[in-house]
């Protein structure tokens, strides 16, 4: 009965109800859109990092600290006995890295050389292109960000100087076999990829690796004397940190939007309690308790949000559909910042569970905001209400 009366009152309110529903719905559309953008971006970034660098996990040599360039020189160790079968079976992908100096067009630049087996299927990295050596010049692959920063292009020949494990310098000429659109910044920026065997020769470190990419999850949590498992949280710590920062901004924006929507509902409710005093008195005379009258008004306010939640997928459909198919465009220059997930349009995926939680939170806010002005009803004398008397 109360629900039916609340619905009828909302319909009777006409355009005022419509404005409230549309305002709340617009807020929800923006929230869903933002939520989907962050979610899809992070998912894309994580997928790309996994496809291009992390696989199903990583076993990293203990001396290697990606944040400390001075550690790169000693970031290698012989492949431990217990991991050899995994390497042979193709379940573990060894990568050997070393700091290097490169000389593109006579300029001198620092870089990291990474050696990867030409034949592997753990990463989507097209390492087979590294086996196409036809002369003394070593074929290498670089990413587009690296090509841009070094001004190297496909077919360019340049020199690489690497120190072997005994401290002696080795130099080779390399040719850029292909410039790859590598979406994982850590596999692109400052990195030159070459065949693992050649890399081991250059370093004088046969059977060594700096890290293993896991192609089989059974190696997760494996720890050896020289290698330790890098779990998802450690590997994606930067990404998570960035997401946390973004989330803070997101929460601020949400708070502002929700505040505006709640003002609209609060205003409507306050006006309703003021304008409908006589109705409140009548309901009391008919036998409604004050609690029931408060419930009626609170329900009316909450129904605005419920209807807005229903209207959100309908009103937002064109926008949601467009971004799920065409995707959020890559902003020019963003790839240079080393932000993962910004190399291709972000096609939106809508995280239903998270969106439902947002809706639920908004609904709870609405119930509170709808109830707030109705506290006056509890203090209202039914006789004064019937007389339309203002306190």
């Amino acid at each position: 009965m109360i629900l039916r009366l609340a619905f009828k009152n909302i319909i009777h309110n006409g355009y005022r109800s419509l404005v409230n529903i549309v305002v709340v719905s617009i807020v929800l559309i923006i929230m869903v859109w933002t939520q989907a953008m962050y979610y899809s971006w992070i998912r894309l970034a994580e997928t790309q990092q996994k496809d291009w660098e992390y696989g199903k996990g990583m076993l990293r040599v203990k001396t290697y600290d990606p944040y400390d360039p001075l550690s790169y020189e000693d970031s290698h160790a012989p492949i431990p006995e217990e991991l050899r079968s995994g390497v042979e079976q193709g379940d573990l992908l060894p990568v050997l890295l070393a700091p290097a100096t490169i000389y593109p067009q006579g300029r001198m630049l620092s870089a990291i050389i990474k050696g990867i087996p030409a034949e592997q299927d753990i990463l989507v990295f097209p390492s087979d292109k590294l086996s196409a050596q036809q002369s003394d010049i070593i074929p290498v692959l670089i990413g587009s960000a690296m090509a841009k920063s070094t001004r190297l292009d496909q077919g360019d020949i340049f020199s690489i100087r690497v120190r072997d494990v005994n401290g002696a310098y080795n130099a080779v000429d390399a040719i850029v076999q292909e410039v790859l659109p590598i979406p994982a910044p850590s596999a692109d920026m400052g990195t030159i990829w070459m065949n693992l065997d050649l890399m081991r020769d250059l370093r004088g470190a046969p059977h060594s690796a700096s890290y293993f990419v896991l192609g089989d999850s059974r190696y997760q949590d494996t720890h050896t004397r020289d290698f330790r498992f890098i779990d998802r949280d450690e590997y994606f710590a930067d990404l998570d940190q960035m997401l946390d920062n973004e989330r803070f901004q997101q929460v601020l924006m949400y708070a502002l939007l929700v505040f505006l929507a709640m003002i609209a509902i609060f205003d409507t409710q306050a006006l309703a309690v003021f304008k409908r005093r006589k109705e409140i008195g009548t309901l009391a005379a008919l036998g409604f308790t004050k609690a029931k009258i408060i419930l009626l008004f609170t329900l009316e306010g909450s129904i605005y949000t419920l209807l807005a939640i229903i209207a959100t997928p309908i009103l937002g459909f064109p926008l949601f559909y467009y971004f799920s198919t065409a995707g959020f465009p890559v902003i020019d220059g963003y790839d240079e910042f080393g932000l993962p997930g910004f190399t291709e349009p972000i096609k939106f995926i809508y995280p239903i569970y998270e969106i439902l939680i947002v809706f639920l939170v908004i609904l709870l806010f609405t119930i509170f905001v709808s109830w707030l002005p109705t506290r006056k009803i509890a203090k209202m004398n039914p006789v004064d209400a019937l007389r339309n008397k203002v306190d």
Partner: protein, 232 residues
Amino acid sequence: MKEIVANITNMSKSFPTGEGDFWALKNINLSFERGEFSGFVGPSGSGKTTLLNILGSLDTPSKGEVEVLGNQIHKINQLQAARLRSRHIGFIFQTYNLLPVYNVYENVEFPLLLMKMDANKRDKMVKEAIEWVGLSDKVKSRPNQLSGGQCQRVAIARAMVKKPDLVLADEPTANLDTENSLNILDTMFKLNRELSTTFIFSTHDPKVIDYLKRVIRLRDGEVASDDPAPGI
């Protein structure tokens, strides 16, 4: 001896004002039997509506005792008062006070919904009440589609549908022309006779006074006279 529906003993009611308490009702002693068709008559400010509101448990006395259908109005809590109103008392207001979002049927049905009556019985009683007031052809109409007289008839049907023990009518004809006033008075008089419902009016309309079987004149919050009247 007839059953006593309401009994007022040494009852006074005051309202706070800037200059101290204003006594709207002073030392009222009255008793109402089942089936009465009586009314408080007096000029504006004589305390008619206040007395009616106290009898309807919408207000409480400041002094004295008021018992309505076995409920001590001076002691009753909000929940008990709401229950008393929803089951035993019908209200008819000067300005009809219909719910604007409901049609005639829904307005009349409303008190029965509050009583959680089952649908079949409810439907029968609503149709019966609408028939009493002669609005069977207007069941789907909203209050804004009805005339003042029709609205007041809906209000009467709403007050009577649950067959209450007591109906309190506050200036029910004040907004109506003579024809409509007589029409609704006839209806109420008929229902009073047929259902033995106690009607208590607050009025200064001579047309209503003509119908009353008991006229209680109030002056400055006191009972000036309490006389039986012939009724119409």
